[in-house]
Symmetry: C2
Subunit: 343 residues, 2 copies
């Protein structure tokens, strides 16, 4: 199992993903290809105590770096970037998956064109595992597709189902649709139509659809996958982030008020830490693009070494699973007769 | 100033809104019309220590009660409900505003047909004031319109601007657009077009548009109004609610762990209470429907007496302000030339 790690896209220095990769080597039997400027990678390895490239690690030299401005032109202007060369490496069959903390838009564009979608899948979606009391729930799409047809939503449901079943080992994952009411006929036309399609797929035994849920149910609903159009999925994901960090800030100021409150913070330190851990994206790793022919993991731009290590492990589990072949085998069931004429 | 209070729509017994109304009488010079079953209202007043109808209070007898199932048929099937008779009373000019905790959908439908929209306003929007460090931010639309054109969004911006300026006394309120990226050309086609229209209205000095914001900025962005289509606005609002209550639950279990953690909870009790207060919808009162020719306030279905009292006060401030006449005076500026042909 060989994973490419793009070490040039993140906010932090090259040493941060390199350290994450070295840690991943210790915890798994994975082989890692570091894509980026060779000189910088060698310097980063040295900083971590390695004068030569360690065993099970190799370097894919790439002189260019994708920035936030390369959103739609990445393939034309940055063909020799760590991102594109890494994707080429995966597409050519030299590696099994890729992890990058570079621009989400650029990664989606480049991955779709280089690695390509699974045959029959109309759009790849960005998934994120949010914390809850049942070990996490997959929210997808989190922003890859601002406009979705009912067929896209149906496909996301199948893809999320197989991801959670095969990668996260959930038994018959429960799929819900993010909507503005729990009743059946809610939402925009595409949500209403998707509800019908999902109910039918459920009746036919293909997926386990449990109905609509609202934003307030994201953390508490009995489900493993939440399907959303990319616009409202992105709004939901970022609203979770914003609310959690606002809450955390208020809690902090509550504990930092005076010497007594600081002592009380020490008493409940264990609780605060487990709460922090639950809300820490570094624990999760990264967000998978689901629907591509190989695993592509988007790591957070602000990832630390632990987040990179966990993203590599996530890519490893994804690539080891049969999620992609199961999606591929079910493509015929995900098609809507009267759609796709313009594709 | 006379406010109608529908005392039949909430989850709780009639005594809860009646108690809220009595408290509002003590804090303001408002006159209150209690709409509902006279017998039940008299019993509730008695429970609060009043054998007769108090001064500045009257009863509007209405035998029927609107339920969650009367969404679209409310006018046909429940014409003698407290909600419809209350709206009739306001529309006839016998009162200045109405507060109801009944079904949101039924209230929007009935209010639009009975009280009617401001002439030239295409859709009324549901606004909610969310807590932040600057005394709150108005999010609208929170779910009245699942599908919005760019023109609707432009109108919401003007309406939110005048609401926050005139009712909440903000100086030149800053209006932002909820989107999936801070850059200019983000979102669905209607968001991109709305961005252009809002920028133009800003340049012409009509409103103070500050650009796109993302879900993660809801609590921290420097703005007074956040404009959203009703679908993603509803997702954002309910995701805030869900995340806050999940966080609160985790905090509670952290403090209830053992005797030491319970003591630490006592130490930071003041902080916990102020945090609770900030997140308590009862402090805010209710959600205004903005764009109707009279103030209509939707109170939370689970409102307690304090929430009803604050919703009445909110209706009072809304009706005392020139928000509606200012919206009306600006209707010509809110029109988009090539839209509305199908209206």
């Amino acid at each position: 199992m060989k994973i490419v790690l793009d070490v040039m896209g993140q906010d932090a220095k090259t040493v941060v993903p390199v350290k994450g990769a070295l840690d991943a080597l210790l915890e798994t039997d994975v082989q890692i290809v570091l894509a980026g400027r060779e000189e910088e990678i060698m310097a980063a390895l040295k900083e971590c105590g390695h004068d030569t490239v360690p065993e099970r690690m190799e370097i894919l030299d790439a002189p260019e770096v994708v920035t936030m401005n390369d959103y739609s032109t990445v393939l034309k202007t940055k063909r020799n970037s760590s991102m594109c060369k890494g994707l080429d490496y995966v597409a050519a069959g030299n590696a099994d998956a890729i992890v990058s903390a570079g621009s989400t838009g650029a990664l989606l564009t480049a991955a779709t064109l280089i690695v390509k979608r699974i045959r029959g899948v109309r759009r790849a979606a960005l998934g994120t595992v949010l914390p809850n009391d049942n070990g996490g729930v997959l929210l997808m799409d989190c922003g890859a597709n601002a406009e979705c047809t009912a067929e896209y939503l149906l496909q996301f449901a199948y893809m999320g189902y197989f991801y959670m079943r095969n990668v996260m080992k959930r038994d018959n994952p429960r799929v819900a649709l993010l909507n503005i009411g729990a009743e059946d006929a809610k939402g925009r036309p595409e949500h209403k139509e998707a509800f019908e399609l999902l109910s039918k797929a459920n009746e036919e035994g293909f997926i386990n659809f449990v109905g609509n849920i609202e934003g307030r149910d994201i953390f508490t609903a009995d489900c493993d996958v939440i399907i959303a159009d990319g616009f409202s999925g992105n709004i939901a994901l970022k609203t979770v982030e914003g609310t959690a960090s606002y809450f955390a800030k208020m809690m902090k100021s509550m504990f930092y008020k005076n010497i007594f409150s600081k002592i009380s913070a020490l008493i409940v330190k264990g609780g605060i830490n487990s709460l922090k851990k639950k809300m820490d994206y570094a624990e999760v790793g990264g967000s998978p693009f689901i629907g591509l022919s190989k695993p592509v993991i988007k790591a957070h731009g602000a990832s630390n070494s632990k987040a990179f290590k966990n993203a590599i492990k996530q890519a490893y589990y994804f690539a080891s699973s049969s999620a992609i072949s199961d999606i591929s085998a079910n493509v015929e069931n995900m098609k809507v007769a009267n759609e796709g004429k313009t594709e």
